[in-house]
Symmetry: C2
Subunit: 227 residues, 2 copies
C-alpha cells in the first residue's frame, strides 16, 4: 500500500504543477475560472444553460464540460449560447484532472472570454482532490438530495467558495430543510458563500448573475494589478 | 503512468480475492447480498428504512452502511429495525472495497439473517469497479436526477441487475421522462430489471418487497443445491 500512496502523491503533484500553469495563463488573460462540482443531476448543466441564455450578450463565456460518457452536456451548452464549448469525455474516470483541462484548452482561443466554466464529472468525492487551475470551486446541491450532504462529503464543501442550492421550487416535497443545509455547510466551511435558486422557475437567478458579475470584475482588477 | 496502472490492477486483483471469500462465506450461510449504489441523495437509506420498517418481522436483514463521513445512515437504519447494522466511515475514500466489508463483517453474527445489504458510498462512478462479494448490484436513480444518467454513467448500469427508480411522486416537476430512462438503461444493459417507487408515498414498494422475497428464495434454493 505504501507504493500506491507514493504513486498517488506523485500524480497529485504533477496535477498541481499543470494546474499552476493553467492558473497563470488564465490570469494573464484576465479570465475568471470556476470549477463546478456536484452530485450527478444537481443541475450544473441547467445552471450554465440559463446563464448562457441570459448573459450571452453581456459576458462572453467559455465552458469545458466533462462527462464520464457522452457529450450531451456540451451539446446542450452550445445550443444555449456559450461563446466556446469544449467537451471532455473521461471514458470512465471519475473526475477531471488538470492535464485533461490543459489539453481541452489547447487551440481554444479564450482571448475574447471573461469566464471559463469547467463543468466537472458529477461526483461529490473525487473531484475535490484535483486542482484544475480554477479561481474557485462552486458546489451545487439540490433540494432533493438531503440536507446532510455537507457533513457526509465534507472535503468538497470545505474546498468550495460558493454553495448554490438548486431546485428550490421543490422545497416542501421532501424533508430537506434550507436552514439546516446552510448550518451544515457553515459547520464545514464558515467562509462559504450561499445562494438559493431554481433553474426551472428562474427564482434566485438574478442574485447568481450579480455574484458572477462582481466576481468577474474582481478578477479583472486583481489580474490587472498582478500584470 | 504504467506503474500506476499496474498498482491499480494489483489492488483490484486483491479486492477480487477478498470478494470471493466474502461470496463463499455468505453462500455457505445462504445469505443474499445486495450492493446498493447510486448518486448521493437518490434514496438508498430511505429505501432501506422503509424496507426494515415493513419487513422486519418477516425477513431478518443486516446492513453495512458506508459513508465518506458520519454514521448518520447507520443510526437511521438501526432505528428503522434492521436486525444488525454496522457502519463503515471511509474517511475520504469514494467507494467501499471488499477489505472494508470483510472487516465490517468480522464479529458480526449473520447466521440469523437472510439478507445482507451493503449501502455503498453515494457515487455513480467509482463503486462500479469494486466487487464486494455481493450477489448483485442494485442501482437507484431518482426522478430528480435526469433521465440520461444511464448513458452518462454506463459502467454502473451495465453491472447492476436491478434499477430502482425512486421519487416517482416528483414526476412532472422536472423534464425527467420515465420511458426515456428505461430505454436508456436497457440500451446499456438489456437484462436489467426495473422497478418504480416512491419511498415517500410508499407507491410501488410492494413490488420491491415481492422482488426481494423472490430473490431471497432463489438464493436459498441455489445455496442449498451448492451445499
Amino acid at each position: 500500500m505504501t507504493t500506491r500512496i507514493n504513486v498517488g502523491e506523485k500524480v497529485l503533484k504533477e496535477n498541481d504543477r499543470i494546474a499552476a500553469e493553467i492558473r497563470a495563463e488564465l490570469s494573464r488573460k484576465k479570465i475568471l475560472s470556476l470549477n463546478l462540482v456536484s452530485s450527478p443531476g444537481s443541475g450544473k448543466t441547467s445552471l450554465l444553460e440559463r446563464t448562457f441564455q441570459d448573459l450571452k450578450d453581456t459576458i462572453p463565456m467559455a465552458v469545458i464540460a466533462g462527462d464520464v460518457q457522452t457529450d450531451n452536456d456540451a451539446r446542450r451548452l452550445a445550443a444555449a449560447g456559450a461563446t466556446l464549448v469544449r467537451p471532455i469525455v473521461t471514458g470512465g474516470a471519475c473526475h477531471l484532472d488538470a492535464r485533461m483541462v490543459q489539453q481541452a484548452m489547447t487551440g481554444l482561443d479564450l482571448s475574447c472570454c471573461r469566464v471559463l466554466f469547467v463543468e466537472n464529472v458529477g461526483n461529490l468525492v473525487c473531484p475535490s482532490s484535483y486542482d484544475l487551475g480554477e479561481d474557485m470551486k462552486v458546489v451545487l446541491i439540490s433540494t432533493t438530495e438531503g440536507d446532510d450532504k455537507p457533513l457526509k462529503y465534507p472535503a468538497m464543501f470545505r474546498r468550495s467558495s460558493l454553495m448554490v442550492i438548486n431546485k428550490t421550487d421543490l422545497l416542501g416535497h421532501s424533508d430537506f430543510d434550507l436552514e439546516r443545509v446552510k448550518d451544515n455547510a457553515r459547520r464545514i466551511n464558515d467562509k462559504i458563500g450561499i445562494l438559493e435558486l431554481s433553474c426551472r422557475t428562474g427564482a434566485g437567478l438574478s442574485a447568481w448573475y450579480d455574484w458572477l458579475a462582481r466576481t468577474v470584475d474582481s478578477k479583472q482588477r486583481r489580474a490587472s494589478k498582478g500584470a
